[in-house]
């Protein structure tokens, strides 16, 4: 959680300093949900398709910070090599597919990864998970994907972070059911609700959903209620979020709640947490500095081909490069 928050604070500063081209999308306020899911998954066995507010979950799943900074800063050494940016990154060979911008689209992809493992006879004990927001529950892709996973009874966990706003659109313009978790029943999948600002509650509920999927209980859906504590992206000040939403229970900062929980339950002392913050700030600084020193892509060195196959007779449409 802390790694996600501190890294993203740095990304925000870099964006505001004009050092990042394109959007910066933060998971501020969603770290408890995201990190809990990432922690419940096992890299190398499980699959995780993060969405735009899952820096904390990515880190918890095992994505190194340098993958993030390289992608945001356009380093050619990053997983996307400057061909895609920001949160549109992944390591599909390590069980973490790269999201596309079209919401809901990763649900069926994770289902397919799990389906492949069933055909290969190695599904037992494995889980696939993806995160979406309240807005994505309105897409056809979400519906189709979750329904497909339910038909196949795949060990898929879909975590819905209901952060009350899809970009600027509030819940009452997004869905009409009383609670999004009602949808789980309609699909024939397990449904859980959790306070997404409460880390210990997330650990318990999301952990239980992952456990049930892993043990053969079929798809599970967790709806976590919280408030996005940033704009949609750093270009957006989120001024449409009413003041009362910010001061209500779900407007509380999950990081502060988590720190308090750690101290109260004697998992860590305040001094230890400060030491973690210092250590992470140092890690983040190094990941940024390294990515900043690395080469950016060179249009003259690009092969400009979207296929892995080379067809001997195919003549690429030649276009001059002006840069």
């Amino acid at each position: 959680m802390l790694r996600g928050r501190i890294l993203e604070n740095k990304l925000s500063s870099l964006y505001k300093a004009g050092k990042i081209v394109g959007g910066v999308y933060l998971g501020r306020g969603q770290e408890a949900v995201s990190a809990t899911l990432g922690t419940a998954l096992i890299q190398g066995t499980d699959f995780f398709a993060p969405l735009i507010r899952d820096q904390a979950g990515r880190t918890a799943f095992g994505e190194p910070l340098i993958d993030c900074t390289r992608t945001y800063l356009g380093s050619v050494k990053g997983p996307m090599r400057g061909r895609d940016g920001n949160i549109h990154r992944g390591r599909p060979d390590l069980g973490m597919p790269a999201m596309i911008s079209h919401l809901g689209a990763q649900v069926s992809v994770v289902a397919g990864m799990l389906f492949a493992k069933r055909l290969q006879g190695t599904l037992a004990g494995r889980v696939g998970a993806t995160c979406i927001g309240d807005g994505a529950t309105s897409t056809g892709a979400f519906h189709e994907g979750l329904n497909l996973a339910a038909i196949e009874r795949l060990p898929l966990v879909v975590v819905v972070a209901n952060n009350q706003f899809a970009y600027s659109t509030p819940n009452d313009r997004q869905f009409a059911c009383a609670d999004l978790v009602e949808k789980a029943r309609g699909y024939g999948v397990g449904g859980f609700s959790v306070d997404g600002t409460d880390m210990l509650a997330c650990v318990s509920v999301i952990g239980e959903a992952v456990r049930r999927a892993r043990e053969g209980g079929g798809p599970q859906m967790v709806v976590a209620r919280l408030l996005r504590l940033s704009g949609h992206g750093e270009h957006d000040d989120g001024s449409y979020v009413p003041a009362e939403a910010r001061v209500d229970h779900y407007g509380q900062d999950c990081i502060e709640v988590a720190m308090q929980q750690l101290i109260e339950n004697h998992f860590a002392t305040a001094e230890e947490i400060v030491a973690w913050q210092d250590q992470i700030a140092d890690e983040v600084q190094r990941a940024v500095a390294q990515a900043q020193q690395e080469p950016v892509p060179d249009p003259y060195q690009e092969d400009w081909t979207a296929l892995s196959t080379r067809f001997p007779l195919d003549q690429p449409i030649s276009q001059p490069i002006f840069s």
Partner: protein, 321 residues
């Protein structure tokens, strides 16, 4: 003993299921029922747990195939009709087609699109989508016109590491027969001179190859020898074979069954004009379906798509220039 075009597609899938553990079939009504066109008849019985009925969820069908391909499988997805692939458009062009460029990991999936018009099929069971998919980087788009190509290009397409849009023409399914499934087996990306000639070149693909050959047959009586080039794959596009043909004939007509705005025929005319302007003795022409939805009534449908008559007329105009 003759083999139909759809027999070839079924045979190819059977061979793939038999020889490659990574292959599985997924599509609506394709398991016990054997598919709307029976392209998978009997395969679910022969290969248990390799042939699956899908829900009516074209988007999720392709998303699922992308995920399975990431994990090492080679899914073949049957769209019940090419037209319905519009529902899966996002997963095809944004997920599957961008994956290799973005991540370096290719996505070996094959989408079978029962394409093109048949009498009475109407606006939503008749479309030709090859031009739309060819527009997007990252897809291989195949348009077999012969029984042998239907067989070999499906085998070769599934063997590719990239996503393949395999456009099979519904009109050819049972109408087109061959003595044997084995033809010249050209590689993907190479066009074929279906019929040699010297006065004009018709570049066509899929069912339009047969309409072009019919038109060429008719023009023989007027003393015209028309060369017909079968593209076989619209992407990659074998421009060399087209240019060599145009160099011989000096005249080009590109024929396609898709809608006329842009598309494969426009691409051919543009590329030949760019690369072979000096070879042309007349302005290159193209003939497509009309710029309306595909009509239901056979009389309207027959006047909507290119026919031997309209191809003859276009060729006469081209030859008289």
């Amino acid at each position: 003993m003759s083999v139909t075009y759809i027999d070839a597609i079924r045979e190819a899938q059977e061979k793939l299921l038999r020889e490659d553990d990574r292959v599985f079939l997924y599509g609506q009504d394709i398991a016990t029922f054997g598919g709307a066109f029976k392209a998978t008849k009997g395969l679910a019985e022969k290969f248990p747990n390799r042939v699956f009925d899908a829900p009516i969820s074209e988007d999720a069908m392709i998303g699922m195939a992308v995920g399975a391909a990431i994990e090492g499988m080679r899914p073949i997805i049957e769209m019940q009709f090419a037209d319905f692939s519009s529902v899966a458009f996002n997963q095809i062009v944004n997920q599957a087609a961008t994956h290799f460029y973005r991540t370096g990991m290719p996505i070996p999936l094959t989408v079978r699109l029962p394409s093109g018009g048949t009498p009475g099929s109407g606006p939503f069971h008749s479309q030709s989508m090859e031009g739309i998919y060819a527009q997007y980087p990252g897809l291989v788009v195949l348009t077999p016109a012969t029984v042998s190509d239907a067989y070999h290009m499906l085998l070769d397409g599934v063997a590719l590491d990239d996503p393949v849009i395999y456009c099979e023409h519904k009109f050819l399914y049972r109408w087109l027969k061959a003595k044997s499934i084995n033809g010249d087996h050209l590689p993907i990306g190479q066009a074929r001179i279906t019929r040699p000639g010297k006065h004009a070149t018709v570049v066509a693909y899929s069912a339009m190859v047969h309409e072009a050959v019919r038109a060429a047959d008719r023009l023989v009586q007027d003393g015209w020898e028309i060369e017909v080039v079968d593209l076989r794959s619209v992407k990659p596009l074998d421009l060399d074979t087209i240019l060599a043909s145009v160099a011989r004939t000096g005249r080009l007509l590109a024929v396609g069954e898709a809608f006329p705005w842009g598309g494969v025929t426009a691409e051919i005319v543009a590329r030949v004009t760019e690369e072979g302007f000096h070879l042309l003795d007349a302005p290159p022409q193209r003939l497509n379906a009309r710029d309306t939805p595909v009509p239901y009534h056979p009389k309207l449908w027959a006047a909507h798509r290119p026919t031997p008559e309209s191809i003859c007329e276009a060729l006469r105009k081209l030859l008289s220039f």
